[in-house]
Symmetry: none
């Protein structure tokens, strides 16, 4: 079969902005071998200088990372597109080689994965907010005074007990945190053509899930019925006396990681969100470490049985979000100290990078490209002296979209056939 | 509404080579704030070395531009695509974030905008050339001996007086220069499916505007009728005894700059062509300065009431087109001296670049990428020492398409939301 024919066989993406030409090409070339690729994601790794003129990566004492940079191809990754700040979902999808502009997932599915709800392909998930409505039915507080988690759980239990489930449909409510929860509907013939009921403003009533143009969806009628029942049940609640829903969505039918790349993958991740994104593309979770030392140890262990290991370290992002520059420096240094455990397992290709930048000066994700190093066979030389945002700019990889990184690692691991005769 | 839904709402571009995915993504993320972006275009800025081995930017004494480069992200812009030399229209559209391969505009519209004809959405415009035909009706001189502007005006006045306007259609003729003029038809139901009548050769007769496959267009019949009348009226003219028309086109229905980027824009430009391109994307013109000092002063003034200011300086291109190396050096130095006036107004993001390169050694536009500097918050450091074609190559921006520059400026100005959760 020719590459063209093989690519033509790939399924079209329903909601895609454009065809996944590059991903399909890589799939058509992928071949299995016993080489092992490790992708270590230091979440939110990229940064910008603070008043000292240095980024946390530039300020950190990190002999192992710098020595690695000197033996690696370095570069900068653009997670989504120039100037675009990625959420964690798109950031990771790019690193997994799934173009985030093609592989867009509904908010409900991300929320369900975030609370580790065992979502099935036939399920429809939505993100819920408890809110407070006044006597005329208008929303007075979109977050119901940010009720504590226990109150969220108590009210959801009340709903579970009182709800008259529509025939044949299973309904699941799961607490996320504070006023946030997840709704999942399960039945064989559900659709997700359902309106957001959250008007995103106060002083107006919630919208109907089955208003036009959603009035032709049987599932929208079921959702609207459930929400009506909930409103009656919560009428006497002081704060959480209503719910609003948004992002109704089904689990997307995307190509699974093992089929796409002919590898046996494993995820090593301590936080639910990142386990969720891994599962979304069919990477099973084998361990849930959180500290740098544990992340490296579990990643090394997972290599024994898997040819691709995604290992996630959260704290570089967390400190960035908190604007905690010294903390971020410390977390980088922790990872640096832990690295020998991972290096001792001798991955054939080792990637260290982030899913996006989280500059401490911004206290949020940002659009800045992310430094990356890839230690691998068949590099060209001329490596950079230090692993940081400025030095990586001059490295062998250059500045590329995140989605091209994993294919590059596969090439260096001998996992991609030649294209054409 | 999700990003996907918002992007789906964007109108499709009829004649585009491909969808405007990136532009629509940026529109879906754009948000208004009070930060101010200034785009100073030094037309034709990029160059190549002459015999001295230096480009005009390298030869110029420009302390302010070099100091700015040391505080800015620098890089190179590719206006249309690698190896492609842009006209002024595409060059500016790229800087405005409109992919020039998607946003292609008919020659007639560009000509009408160039003479500042107040074009309406229902109008059809065409570029006219006076030409000389021989007794058998074949074209002998495609430019009618480059008649002087006064003769152009005299002959057009003769046409205006003699023309029997087709019922309901208004017809406008406007002198451009020498043998060049603009024709505009105005009526509510016009189309632009009209053939070029210029055969682009001598020794053959002009083509018919309503030949097949244009014979189904009512507007083509009107155009053909007008040209027949003109031919009779000009029969006794010694040189300009006929007209040929090309590029019949309507004003394109493109997304307008303020809607696309959620900014309040203003243009400061002394030459009609650049005011025309600004108006084409919905940027109103607020001043018409030409000298470097006036351009900077008017741009600074426009910042008071506008969150995006496009300021245009023509003379770097003009000297390049003339092959006047010393003149281009001098024009760069003039702008350098004028810059403090603009800097004093403290734009949040200041971009200085060109719409394309105009190397003096080529005396024409060229395909060379264009140096750019962007002074902005949240830069990473490692800035370059001088503002020129070679030093910019190693800067933070790297080499990117021109159309990604404005989104990058928006990111640094806090005018773009996060993509995905």
């Amino acid at each position: 079969m020719t590459h063209v024919a093989r690519m033509a066989m790939q399924q079209k993406q329903g909601d895609a902005m454009y065809e996944d030409y590059y991903g399909n090409l890589i799939t058509s070339l992928a071949m299995a071998n016993d080489k092992k690729i490790v992708l270590l994601v230091m979440d939110g790794l990229g940064d910008a200088p603070n008043a000292t003129g240095k980024t946390p990566l530039q300020a950190a004492i990190k002999p192992n990372l710098d020595a690695l940079a000197g033996q690696s191809a370095c570069g900068l990754l653009v997670p989504v597109a120039t100037a675009v700040t990625p959420g964690s979902g798109p950031g990771h999808l790019g690193l997994f080689g799934y173009d985030p502009l093609i592989y867009q997932v509904g908010r409900g599915v991300l929320s369900a994965l975030g609370v580790e709800f065992p979502l099935e392909d036939r399920d429809v998930a939505a993100r819920l907010n408890f809110c407070t409505i006044d006597k005329s039915g208008n929303i007075a507080d979109r977050r119901a005074g940010r009720i504590p988690d226990e109150e969220n759980r108590r009210v959801l239990e009340k709903i579970r007990k009182g709800l008259k489930t529509p025939a044949g449909v299973e309904v699941f409510f799961t607490t996320e945190a504070e006023h946030r929860a997840v709704l999942v509907l399960r039945e064989n013939n559900l659709d997700d053509n359902i309106g957001d009921t959250d008007p995103q403003h106060t002083g107006v009533p919630p919208l109907k899930a089955n208003r036009a143009p959603y009035d032709k969806s049987p599932t929208a009628a079921i959702a609207a019925n459930i929400i009506e029942q909930v409103q009656k049940m919560l009428a006497d609640e002081p704060k959480a006396n209503m719910i609003v829903a948004r992002g109704f969505a089904k689990h997307p039918a995307w190509p699974k990681f093992p089929d796409r790349y002919k590898v046996k993958p494993a995820a090593v991740a301590g936080y639910p969100m990142y386990r969720g994104v891994a599962k979304l593309v069919g990477i099973p979770v084998v361990a849930k470490p959180t500290t740098a030392q544990d992340v490296c140890a579990e990643a090394a262990k997972a290599m024994a049985e898997h040819s691709f290991v995604f290992a996630h370290f959260k704290y570089t992002d967390k400190t960035g979000e908190d604007g905690d520059y010294d903390g971020k420096v410390k977390r980088i240094e922790e990872m640096d100290k832990a690295l020998p455990t991972l290096l001792a397992a001798k991955p054939d290709v080792l990637i260290i990078t982030g899913d996006h930048s989280t500059p401490c000066v911004l206290k949020s994700h940002s659009w800045h490209p992310v430094p990356v190093l890839m230690k691998a066979p068949w590099l060209r030389g001329g490596q950079v002296a230090k692993f940081d945002e400025v030095n990586c700019r001059g490295g062998e990889i250059g500045t590329i979209p995140s989605r091209e990184l994993l294919p590059l690692a596969m090439a260096h691991a001998g996992k991609l056939e030649k294209f054409g005769a």
